[in-house]
Symmetry: C2
DNA sequence: CTAAAAATCACCCTTTTACGTGAGATAAAA
DNA sequence: TTTTATCTCACGTAAAAGGGTGATTTTTAG
């Protein structure tokens, strides 16, 4: 019989902490060694103690779980962090995985799934809940489908969306109005729109500027 | 000594249910008489049983907590429903209150606050958590501050945002291009913008069309 | 090194917008 | 009823966008 897996829960919701504790209290394979309701407390925990697995909420009051994950893994690269979120949004899943999280659990996970995630991640593999995986795939597909624009085009797109005219943009970037106009036309062509209103609408609806 | 307050928890997150149960298990004044992880199960509960207070999550898989609240209150007007949410968004708070909820709790509420909310609401008053109240105030202020436009102006605004030109709008509404242009000018003036890009941006950023 | 992609600029023409000003008709509120 | 708001339309001008085509330089990637 090996030692129980040491689990740290980072979540600002007392209910969630209590809930996980309650769900896992009869488990001999997992031991909750600490809880933290914000990023600061989480960092303090690791000064004196350690954990095998961290359940990491995405929305913390002081620092996002995404940033905290990246920060912790810089200091303690061997940590196994499992994201814990209410959200199925693909963006969150993507960012968490990019930050180095080894797992992604939704807060409606069953006891069984929680235990499974802990086991899988502790054995060195990744565990992403089916819904989160689906959302991630959707996200990646969407990203793939969204037209790609160049660096300069993005620069100009931002200014158009902010409401600047071609001449103002030209002034700001020290280029000719005709150049700005060219970029604008290319944007229309790439994003498949034919006027400013539709361009701005497209950007807002797809949160297009969040990409690249 | 009076009977314990009968509490029903409606939330699709097992962790939350377990968490609340764990937090309240030592309480003699409150008794959890049931749990439901979706709207259907919640409705079924009330066929055979009853409750004094309902903890209602906003995000349910089948029906939003907002709609479920309105629906339940139609059938059982004396129910005391307390919204339970991760979100501080003012819109949610507003809509929940509009649907008839008597309270609004955030999921990071302490045991103390949960008990207080139950007591206050059971005594016939409303309980809205401080953060939610602040968000609600902000929301209401925002609504107040947002410029008011006329029915016709809104009609035209929608079409502009959809990317139609003045001439197309005129065609669609059987009015002259000059009239459309007048409305457009008034919109610019009222919403304090000076071109299409900023107009569309304003509408999207403020979800302006959701109002009035 | 070379081909491809990106960024730059120019010119032309039409349509649309942006801004101003004024004004009649109608409906709603005081 | 009388004021007020809304909706309607007109005219004029300048600026900006929308569209097409073509061409040079610079950067990037194979």
């Amino acid at each position: 019989m090996c030692n129980p897996i040491k689990l740290l829960i980072v979540d600002d919701h007392q209910m969630i902490i209590e809930g996980i504790q309650s769900l896992l209290e009869d488990q001999t394979t997992v031991k909750i060694v600490g809880t933290a309701t914000n990023a600061k407390l989480c960092e303090q925990f690791f000064i004196t103690q350690t954990a095998d697995i961290v359940f990491m909420d995405i929305n913390l009051p002081d620092l996002s779980g995404i940033d905290l994950t990246a920060l912790l893994l810089k200091k303690y690269p061997t940590l196994n962090i499992i994201a814990l979120s209410t959200f199925t949004q693909g963006t969150y899943v993507r960012k968490m995985i990019e930050s180095g999280a080894k797992g992604y659990l939704l807060k409606n996970a069953s006891k069984f799934e929680i235990l499974k995630a802990i086991e899988v991640v502790h054995s060195g593999q990744k565990y992403i809940s089916p819904e989160a995986q689906e959302a991630l795939n959707y996200e990646l597909n969407l990203q793939k489908k969204l037209p790609k624009i160049t660096k300069r085009e993005k620069e100009i797109l931002v200014l158009i969306v902010e409401g600047l005219t071609n001449s103002h943009i030209a002034e700001k970037l020290f280029i000719s109005i005709d150049t700005v106009d060219s970029h604008r036309k290319n944007l229309y062509s790439k994003l498949n729109v034919n006027n400013t209103a539709r361009l701005v609408g497209f950007v807002n609806e797809n949160k297009y500027l969040d990409y690249l």
